[in-house]
């Protein structure tokens, strides 16, 4: 399918394609109520409650007042509908803002200011500097004479550097005025979400140059949500608009997230529902049989001889209503309440406030805190998430002399400063390259300060550093670069720019020194792209060492080199270069080849080391979380080498020999397949070894792997605890999340940029870092935190507590409803299986609303272990990950407990209150009191830490129960008039209650004690250790203490490790800049690894138990 865009044709394409209205809304005013109701009723629980509520309207079968179900039901629905409406209204407002932004568009040959939503496909849109691009455009004009313009794509892929875009050759040189009248056709594919590809053709109509079809690539486009930078103006033709832009296509509608716990609760609810149906059917049949055999003889019941047609249904339906409390309607309300509180605790947490910017953490999604405790995979962005995204020049090595090793900052190194002031030629040349061998554009602000606009942060850091060392690059006018060195102004004329590509891994400038007319070649690049081309005779060993040393410190290295060109050499080469640049086929390859011809025989000057500083506490955080059994994947748009560097420096992967890094690469499908198979094989072999095996894959290979070898890749994903994916697009990030999710892993995605948004939305939990790249990720995320290190607290403290608390709360909710339901069922056996409710409506309603919900709500304050203990023993998290506290078997325990308690309460009530005391209301109140007392003790027993609030809630609730019942007993109109007063005066009442409590609780206490002491779980052991004081100290010393890896003493770096080589894997680490050569396969040495207690397969194995 193709789309034909007629440029500047106001009529034809209007109807064909949508306008530029962006809409993220879920509802409209009209469809809100039906759609929202429909969505709410797609939840099984809601359908169930609606059915029950409807059945209760039928007074023949209802045991209680229908209001007891309708009230809560309507309340719940209203709350969630209001919330939805509020969210949607905000989406509407932000859409509206984007849609009504004014842009310049050519209409009927005149430039007009219109709203962004009125842009149509084919319109010519004019942008000024710093404008946001309103839709996907094909460039046709720019203020730059060479047709270039710069854009910032941070919102799309998160890369903050500026990218160059160029107008297509066909439009080159068209006069500004004529651009208004340009006509033509663009043939482009139907909208897709691939932001790297745009294969289209353009043909201009006469009178414009109409020779050939001009091919268009992504280089000729500017996409929606990018910003125009460093370019006065640009204009382009709208090709994709509205929700059909590349960004719009990749913007998935975020699905409401359901925690694993909710799913489990739903599952258990389903099981209870089945159980309920069985009970109802059994009792229904028994009731009908009893009715036919016995009740006909019970003359006082006066059954009519012939009932209505639905007679057989009445008793089962009565039981259905009687048993409907088995599924507690209160569970949703209480869960929503406590979840809100969990979220508030995160918002309030004083230890998760970023002190630099004083931004507190924020839980946008209040519903998924429990999932935090069950995270198994963390997918993290690199730049800005793990690192500060602040590049700083730290060290350098010039002609074999190391600067900055002592104090960690070359700019403050006295020796370097001295060398600069004394004008050492090598150093000056080094600084010159730092200052001008780049594509940085200096601008002077009004105050006279020089600001640099750089495409890459590294270049920016180098130029800034050079300026601090008195080599100030202060002006670029046309091809003339002006540098001030010690008040001396030097001028250079740029002759050629040999651009950086990821294949060449270097960039060079050919320029003429205006002082003496010499032609120079200045190069900078990765070590493997520079050092092999050193002039014969130059010793590069020094530089190799320097690079290795810097890389071990996690610094990004660049090698700087230069040489002088002879006039004729340059002339000759220049011709070839021009020719290569104008080829149509394989241009990039040809250019690279030509560049190669001049970039040799270099005089290597030195190595620069730039630090992209890790955020505080990143290695410790990753270490702790990995100990907790969480697997880390790094997904970055950055280069492979940088990614591996950072991964090493933040404990992400262990250095050899403890760790092993396998690479999946290849340019073709076949290569990728082979590589993938090889890695998979290695993984299978090493999976039994206690070794950290990680794999690295880049965007290209990932594309093949995801599209063609998904199964193999999925297996790899399961086997591998760690992975590094470089050069990945936002949608690939999301796909990776999808793969892990499809294997039933709970994923957490953390990122800071717009390119992480999709991954964040896709993952079970999205965490955004409210950082330098703006707030996009933070806004799309479920949680936003200020710093990566807060993740530890978020997961281990908040996630874990939330999980534990919800586990208790949900099971307890079922326990209490089952308890009262079992009593009702037992009672039906002594009431002629007729469906009589032992308890009256007031008691039943108050039971769920007051008596049992208050004590359990304060369980949100319960802490089984102190925060310090959890942080110290992160392994304890696996109880949450493996779902040890809420699963069918724990639930069976609670089920059994409620059955047992029901039997205790029922038997004691009917035996103690037999014969002359068997008055209905009294027996009912005795049974109810028994339930309440047992509840209080069950909550007390399951509470691990009692704060004053818990005591108040538990015992106050018990007192409240009596208060409420005394009030009802004082009302003559109520059915319970005087009952509670009578009971409280009877010794037999109190004796029965104490009997129930003791008989119900002592076996549970005995079992709990036995388990706690003789079959303790890890949690119990830690509790014992923590509360008995003493042993916790020894625990701390047993635990290997994580030490910061990064600032290791340099001297240990040269220790070589014996290599254990497995022929199956390809040692990818040698590919990183600190190793010498890929092909040589020399041993790759890392510093001695820390004694880390890593737990491969920890969670996996335990889960299988």
């Amino acid at each position: 399918m193709k789309r034909y865009v007629y440029i500047n044709d106001d009529e034809s394409s209007h109807d064909l394609y949508c306008d530029n209205r962006i809409s993220n809304r879920k509802y409209t005013v009209l469809n809100f109520i039906p759609k929202n109701l429909w969505e709410q009723f797609s939840r099984f629980m809601n359908q169930y409650f609606l059915l029950i509520a409807c059945l209760q309207l039928w007074s023949l079968i209802t045991p209680v007042n229908p209001a007891s179900t309708w009230g809560p039901l309507i309340f719940i629905f209203a709350v969630s509908a209001t919330k939805e409406a509020w969210d949607d209204y905000h989406r509407y407002l932000s859409d509206k803002k984007a849609n009504e932004k004014e842009v310049w568009v050519v209409k009927n040959g005149i430039k007009k200011l219109i709203q962004a939503q009125d842009i149509h496909v084919g319109n010519i849109v004019w942008l000024r500097e710093n404008d946001e691009v309103p839709c996907d455009l094909v460039l046709i004009g720019s203020s730059d004479p060479q047709g270039l313009c710069y854009i910032e794509t941070a919102a799309m892929d998160g890369e903050t550097d500026l990218k160059t875009r160029v107008i297509p050759s066909a439009c080159m040189g068209i006069d500004v005025e004529l651009l208004h009248k340009i006509k033509g056709v663009i043939e482009c594919p139907t909208p897709d979400k691939d932001i790297r590809r745009f294969d289209a053709n353009m043909r201009l109509f006469p009178p414009f140059i109409d020779n050939d079809i001009c091919p268009l690539t992504i280089k000729n486009t500017v996409l929606q949500s990018c910003y125009l930078r460093n370019t006065e103006w640009a204009c382009g033709v709208a090709v994709y608009t509205g929700n059909e832009t590349k960004l719009g296509m990749s913007r998935g509608i975020p699905e409401p997230k359901l925690t694993a716990m909710d799913a489990m609760i739903d599952k258990l609810t389903g099981a209870i529902f089945v159980f309920q149906i069985v009970v109802v059917m059994v009792l229904g049949i028994a009731g009908n049989v009893w009715k036919d055999t016995e009740a006909k003889k019970q003359w006082y019941v006066l059954y009519p001889d012939k009932g209505p047609w639905y007679e057989l249904l009445i008793i089962p339906l009565r039981f259905e209503l009687l048993c409907s409390i088995m599924i507690p309607i209160s569970i949703k309300v209480s869960l929503d309440l406590v979840k809100g509180l969990y979220a508030k605790f995160i918002d309030w947490d004083d230890q998760m406030v970023d002190l630099e910017t004083s931004t507190p953490s924020n839980a946008t999604n209040t519903a998924i805190s429990e999932d935090l405790g069950q995270v198994e995979y963390i997918l993290t962005d690199k730049t800005g998430t793990l690192t500060e995204n602040k590049m700083i020049f730290r060290r350098c090595c010039i002609s074999g002399i190391f600067y900055g090793n002592e104090n960690g900052d070359a700019l403050k190194d006295v020796e370097l400063l001295h060398a600069v002031s004394s004008g050492s030629p090598d150093v000056v040349q080094f600084l010159t390259i730092m200052a001008i061998c780049n594509t940085v554009i200096p601008t002077q602000s009004k105050t006279g300060d020089i600001l640099y606009k750089a495409q890459s942060q590294d270049e920016d850091a180098l130029v800034q550093a050079a300026a601090r060392l008195h080599m100030v690059f202060f002006n670029k006018s046309g091809n003339i670069l002006e540098v001030k060195f010690n008040n001396l102004i030097l001028q250079y004329e740029v002759l050629e720019t040999l651009e950086f590509t990821s294949d060449r891994k270097r960039m060079s400038l050919v320029l003429k020194d205006c002082q003496n007319g010499k032609i120079l070649l200045l190069s900078k690049g990765a070590d493997e792209a520079i050092l092999p081309y050193a002039r014969t005779g130059q010793q590069t060993r020094n530089f190799v060492e320097a690079v290795e040393q810097y890389a071990h410190l996690g610094l990004r290295t660049l090698c700087l080199a230069w040489r002088e060109l002879r006039e004729d050499e340059y002339r000759e080469w220049s011709l070839m270069f021009k020719e290569a640049n104008s080829t149509l086929v394989d241009r990039e390859w040809r250019v690279a080849e030509v560049c190669q011809r001049i970039e040799h025989n270099l005089e290597v000057l030195g190595v620069t080391a730039i630090e992209d500083r890790l955020q505080d506490g990143v290695p410790e955080t990753i270490e702790t979380l990995r100990k907790a059994g969480i697997n880390f994947w790094m997904l970055t748009g950055d280069k492979q080498n940088t990614a591996i560097q950072i991964a090493l420096s933040c404990n992400f992967i262990s250095p050899e020999p403890k760790g092993q890094l396998l690479s999946i690469d290849g340019k073709t499908e076949d290569e990728v397949r082979r590589s993938l198979e090889r890695v998979l094989l290695t993984m299978r072999i090493t999976t039994s070894e206690p070794k950290d095996v990680a794999f690295v894959i880049d965007g290209w290979a990932l594309d093949f792997a995801l599209n063609h070898y998904r199964k193999a890749f999925t297996e790899l994903a399961i086997l591998s605890r760690t992975a590094i994916c470089c050069r990945v697009t936002p949608s690939q990030k999301a796909q990776l999340v999808q793969i892990l999710k499809s294997c039933d892993y709970r994923t957490l995605a953390i990122g800071d940029g717009g390119n992480d948004v999709r991954m964040i939305q896709q993952a079970d939990i999205g965490v955004g870092i409210s950082g330098r790249e703006g707030l996009q990720a933070a806004r799309a995320a479920d949680y936003s935190i200020g710093k990566f290190r807060f993740l530890k607290r978020l997961i281990l403290v908040h996630g874990r507590y939330s999980y534990n608390r919800t586990a208790f709360l949900s099971q307890y909710s079922f326990y209490k409803s089952l308890l009262i339901c079992f009593i009702q069922i037992f009672f039906s056996f002594i009431s002629g299986v007729s469906g009589t409710s032992l308890f009256n409506s007031v008691s039943l309603m108050a039971y769920n609303v007051f008596y049992t919900s208050v004590p359990v709500l304060v369980s949100v304050l319960d802490k089984d272990l102190s925060e310090e203990t959890v942080i110290q023993h992160p392994q304890i998290l696996f109880y949450c990950q493996a779902g040890r506290l809420l699963n069918p078997s724990t639930f069976a325990g609670w089920f059994g407990r409620s059955l047992f308690h029901a039997i205790v309460v029922f038997l004691i009530s009917i035996h103690a209150y037999a014969y002359d005391k068997s008055e209905m209301e009294e027996v009912s109140m005795v049974a109810l009191s028994g339930c309440i007392w047992l509840q209080a003790f069950v909550v007390a027993m399951e509470t691990n830490s009692f704060t004053i609030l818990q005591h108040l809630a538990i015992w106050g609730n018990l007192a409240g129960f009596y208060a409420i019942n005394w009030i009802f007993s004082a009302l003559p109109a109520s059915g319970m008039y005087t009952i509670m007063f009578r009971l409280c005066r009877q010794p037999s009442y109190w004796i029965s209650i104490f009997l129930m409590t003791a008989a119900g609780m002592t076996p549970i206490l005995a079992i709990k004690y036995f388990r706690f002491t003789y079959r303790p779980s890890k949690i119990n052991t830690l509790q014992q250790a923590e509360r008995l004081g003493g042993p916790i100290v020894s625990l701390g010393t047993i635990e290997p203490q994580p030490r910061p890896l990064i600032e290791k003493d340099v001297s240990t770096l040269s220790i070589t490790q014996p290599k254990i080589r497995n022929p199956v894997y390809e040692p990818l680490l040698s590919d990183s800049p600190n190793a010498t050569r890929r092909s040589a396969g020399t041993p790759f040495d890392f510093f001695q690894s820390q004694s880390r207690s890593s737990l491969p397969n920890y969670s996996r194995n335990c889960k299988d138990n």
């Binding site: 003889k297 019970q298 006082y300 019941v301 006066l302 947490d349 004083d350 406030v353 002190l355 931004t359 507190p360 505080d616 206690p690 009672f827 002594i830 009431s831 002629g832 007729s834 009589t836 032992l838 304050l861 009917i910 103690a912 037999a914 014969y915 002359d916 005391k917 068997s918 008055e919 209905m920 009294e922 691990n944 009692f946 704060t947 609030l949 005087t978 009877q986 037999s988 004796i991 029965s992 009997l995 008989a999 206490l1005 005995a1006 709990k1008 004690y1009 002491t1013 890890k1018 052991t1021 830690l1022 250790a1025 509360r1027 003493g1030 042993p1031 625990l1035 635990e1039 207690s1093 737990l1095 397969n1097 920890y1098």
Partner: protein, 346 residues
């Protein structure tokens, strides 16, 4: 900004920053730092709890059992013997035949001295007052308020007779128990006090002083007892007692009180009118004379249950003590943590 300076400035201005509105308000509650007591199940605590329970429960159990044993009770089943042998083949026909005189004489022997007041109960077995159709078949408003005499909702099928509302309506009232007993000792009449057998609260508030039976037992099927139309419901104590429905199919209802001691060896003859039909559902009818103790009537259940629970707790306490000494176990031993034992994982 370097990390050290950031940290230093961070701690320095933390108090200042706390005042910043963007920052959360600090309190022990919001930080989840409320002081808490964290008890754990140490052997000493658990064993003491069990011992304490047994120490409390055994004496209480003994006391309850004694109280129950002190109560003297005479139970006499009469539904079978009060059918004349000639009618034993079709008891239902006999009981439903209103023209037959159903007087029946039984004698009770007092085995033990009975102190007044002696409660006279009738006990019905297999009678489901708690049946779903039965238990709700009443209208409390009508019983309380004479102006609501025609409100009969919930009383079906005994709401109307001959097109007029029944007062008191419903199955419960309609099936009012109608056996009567006359007691005599040594041919001397024993007065049975039938005043004050119902709950005072019922007489005062549930059954109206000016609500009189109307149109009662006028329907096609006669259920149980008839009511005197001239006596207000608040004084129809048999009805009030009957309408306190029982939760169990076996129940006793107070018939009256004998306010006189009965001596050991006394023979009490009862002249009863065997009117009430329990034969169609083979329910038993029993006459019960009983004294009361502080726990009520004769019921060994609580005493036995208390002794059982107390004994069980004692046993558990002993068992745990023995296990504790035989197989001591250090709490919180870090070697139980598998990750300390085996760093390789599980």
């Amino acid at each position: 900004m370097s990390s050290s300076s950031a940290a230093a400035s961070g701690s320095a201005d933390s108090t200042a920053a706390r005042r910043n509105t963007k920052r959360p308000k600090y309190s022990k509650f919001t930080q989840q730092e409320l002081p808490a007591c964290k008890p754990i199940l140490t052997p000493r605590a658990v064993i003491s709890v069990f011992l304490l329970v047994s120490v409390v429960f055994v004496p209480v159990g003994v006391a309850s059992l004694l109280a129950s044993r002190k109560v003297v009770e005479i139970v006499h089943r009469y539904d079978a013997e009060c059918i004349p042998p000639s009618n034993s083949s079709d008891k239902v026909a006999y009981i439903q035949n209103s023209s037959v005189d159903k007087t029946c004489k039984i004698t009770l022997k007092v085995q033990k001295h009975m102190k007044s007041p002696i409660h006279v109960y009738y006990q019905l077995d297999n009678f489901y007052q708690n049946h779903r159709r039965y238990v709700k078949s009443r209208n409390d408003e009508q019983l309380r308020d004479s102006s609501k005499w025609d409100s009969t909702s919930g009383c079906k099928p005994e709401d109307m007779a001959n097109g007029k509302p029944i007062v008191p309506c419903g199955l419960i009232a309609w099936s009012l128990f109608n056996d009567t007993y006359v007691f005599s000792r040594n041919n001397k009449n024993l007065t049975v006090n039938k005043k004050g057998i119902s709950w005072k609260s019922d007489r005062d508030h549930k059954f109206g002083k000016n609500v009189f039976p109307k149109n009662f037992q006028n329907g096609s099927i006669i259920g149980g007892a008839h009511l005197n139309d001239s006596i207000p419901l608040s004084q129809q104590e048999d009805l009030i007692v009957w309408m306190r429905t029982a939760a169990l199919p076996t129940f006793r209802k107070l018939y009256g009180k004998i306010e006189m001691d009965l001596n050991e060896g006394d023979t009490i003859s009862v002249t009863l009118k065997n009117n009430y039909n329990t034969y169609s559902f083979s329910g038993k009818k029993k006459l019960v004379l009983s004294t009361t103790g502080w726990l009520g009537g004769k019921n060994d259940f609580l005493g036995i249950a208390y002794l059982t629970v107390g004994g069980l707790c004692f046993f558990l306490a002993m068992a745990f003590t023995i296990i504790y000494f035989v197989k001591p176990r250090q709490l919180g031993d870090p070697s139980y943590l598998s990750w300390n034992r085996n760093p390789g994982g599980h």
